[in-house]
Each structure stands twice: as structure tokens, then as C-alpha cells.
């Protein structure tokens, strides 16, 4: 039996790597992938504590998180397609239409 703290640490490492990717990368597609990593890390936490507490609520909420992640990926990739049509670029530093 592996202690819950091991799963929590795995989740934290994945979360931190996602945050690093968000801050370091400029490619919009890679940034979206890092958001998926962060949501996945949240799921590991939900399910680890679901096992720790013997309560299924964590697993149900992980289902909701997966749903939101799928919706976010669909919208984000739609934005990328529109962005490429408009600017022929997915570099986040050069997307400054709303900067004013």
C-alpha cells in the first residue's frame, strides 16, 4: 500500500511542471498542453484523497474536471485555428490585438 503523500507529491511535481511550461513557453499549442497537465495533476489529487477517505466524491469530481479539460481544449484549439487564419502565427508575444 503506497501512502497518499506519494501520490500528492507526484501530483505537485506535474502541477509545477505545468506552471513552468505556462510561464516559459510562448507557443500557444504548448501552453494549452501545459494547462492539460495542470488539470491532470488536480485529478491525481482528487483520486488520491478519494482513496484515502474511502469516498467516491473525489472520483465524481475528477469526471467533471476531465469534462472541463476537454471543453477547454476544444475552445483553445478553435482559438488557435482562428488565430492562424488572422495572423499566421501562434506566438503569444505577437498576439497583442487587445493590448489597446
Amino acid at each position: 500500500m503506497i501512502a497518499t503523500s506519494h501520490y500528492v507529491i507526484l501530483s505537485l511535481v506535474l502541477f509545477a511542471l505545468g506552471i513552468v511550461g505556462l510561464t516559459v513557453r510562448r507557443n500557444f499549442i504548448t501552453v494549452l498542453m501545459c494547462i492539460e497537465l495542470i488539470l491532470n495533476a488536480a485529478n491525481i489529487n482528487f483520486i488520491a484523497y478519494s482513496r484515502q477517505l474511502g469516498d467516491l466524491t473525489g472520483q465524481v469530481f475528477a469526471v467533471f474536471v476531465i469534462t472541463i479539460a476537454a471543453a477547454e481544449a476544444a475552445i483553445g484549439l478553435g482559438i488557435i485555428v482562428a488565430l492562424v487564419r488572422l495572423k499566421h502565427n501562434v506566438n503569444l508575444d505577437q498576439v497583442n490585438v487587445m493590448e489597446g
Binding site: 500528492v8 505537485l12 511535481v13 511550461g21 499549442i29 504548448t30 497537465l37 476537454a70 471543453a71 475552445i75
Partner: protein
């Protein structure tokens, strides 16, 4: 040796899966090509699905593979294919101030791991039979999750379905051809 291996089998599997998941996440950040990053992310997702099985969440492991590996990754690869590769792999892929970012990350991660060890080490792990029981009767993880989802969390379930509908409409609107044509005219 064999006895030790069998006694610690789940721990060995966990550490292998965790190493693959973390290596995949590092690959997402490190690979310059988005296709390589997407495949690396796929490896990370599959390893996390294995971790879910270790946590007695078999239904979520299947959902993880179906939705992430089957749906989201195909979507990513399709978009990468649609977009010209040269616009994806040009200069300026990384922010230059890497050292301050790494320092901040190290501090945040150390604090978080400290909190995680303290919070995760408290109390005993519950009996895993609770994760497969429907109203006290042991059935299976899928039945138990479905029971909880449709009985206790019916309203959030319906709200999430509306969110999915809105996301679908939004993606269709964003993907229309007129959006680009209007700008050009």
C-alpha cells in the same frame, strides 16, 4: 529477491509510472516541435491512467485513456497538422529569463511538497471496498461512480453537459471561415 519483488510490486509499478509521467511532462516543456510535445504528453497521460488503476479508480483510468489519449490528443494533432509547421517552430519559442523562473519554481515546489507530505501523511487509508460498493453491496467501480454521479450529483452533471454544449457551439463559431474573411475584406 523474488519475495521482495512481489511484496513491493505495487510500489515498483507506482514509481515506474510516476517516472514516465514526470518525464512526459518535462518533454512537453523541453521539446521544440509541438508534435513531439504532444506525443510526450500522450505518454504522460497513459502513465497517469496507470496511476489511477493503482488508486482503485478503474473507471477513471478508462475515461482518461478514452477522452485524453483518444479525444484530446487527436484534436491537438489535427490542429498541429492544420497549422503550418513553420509558424510553430520559429524563433522565440522560450522566454529568456529562465533562471529567475527556475528559482521561483524551486521555492514554490519545495513549499508545496512540504505541505503535501504533512497533509497526505495524516490518517490511515480507508478500506478500498468503499470505492466499489453501491448502497453497501459490492459491485464495481463503474457502478459505484455512476450511482454517485446520477444520484448525489445529478445537477452538477447536467450543468457540465450545458458547459460541453456551449464549448461545442463556441468551437464551431470560432472555426467558421467568415471570421478570417471579414478581417481581410
Amino acid at each position: 529477491m523474488l519475495a521482495w519483488f512481489l511484496a513491493n510490486f505495487s510500489a515498483i509499478v507506482f514509481y515506474c509510472l510516476a517516472a514516465v509521467a514526470v518525464a512526459g511532462a518535462v518533454g512537453v516543456i523541453a521539446f521544440r516541435s509541438p508534435v513531439h510535445a504532444a506525443l510526450s504528453l500522450l505518454g504522460s497521460f497513459l502513465a497517469v491512467a496507470g496511476v489511477f488503476i493503482l488508486l482503485h479508480a478503474e473507471f477513471l483510468a478508462a475515461v482518461q485513456i478514452l477522452v485524453y489519449a483518444g479525444g484530446v490528443m487527436v484534436l491537438f494533432l489535427f490542429v498541429i497538422m492544420l497549422v503550418n509547421v513553420r509558424t510553430l517552430t520559429g524563433e522565440g519559442q522560450y522566454v529568456r529569463r529562465l533562471v529567475p523562473a527556475a528559482v521561483v519554481l524551486g521555492i514554490v515546489l519545495a513549499v508545496l511538497i512540504g505541505v503535501g507530505v504533512v497533509a497526505g501523511g495524516q490518517g490511515a487509508v480507508a478500506d478500498p471496498a468503499a470505492l466499489t460498493a453501491v448502497a453497501g453491496v459490492p459491485l464495481g467501480n463503474t457502478e459505484a461512480v455512476g450511482w454517485s454521479l446520477y444520484r448525489d450529483y445529478l445537477l452538477p452533471f447536467e450543468v457540465v453537459s450545458v458547459v460541453l454544449l456551449v464549448a461545442m457551439i463556441g468551437a464551431i463559431v470560432l472555426g467558421r471561415k467568415e471570421l478570417g474573411a471579414k478581417e481581410g475584406a
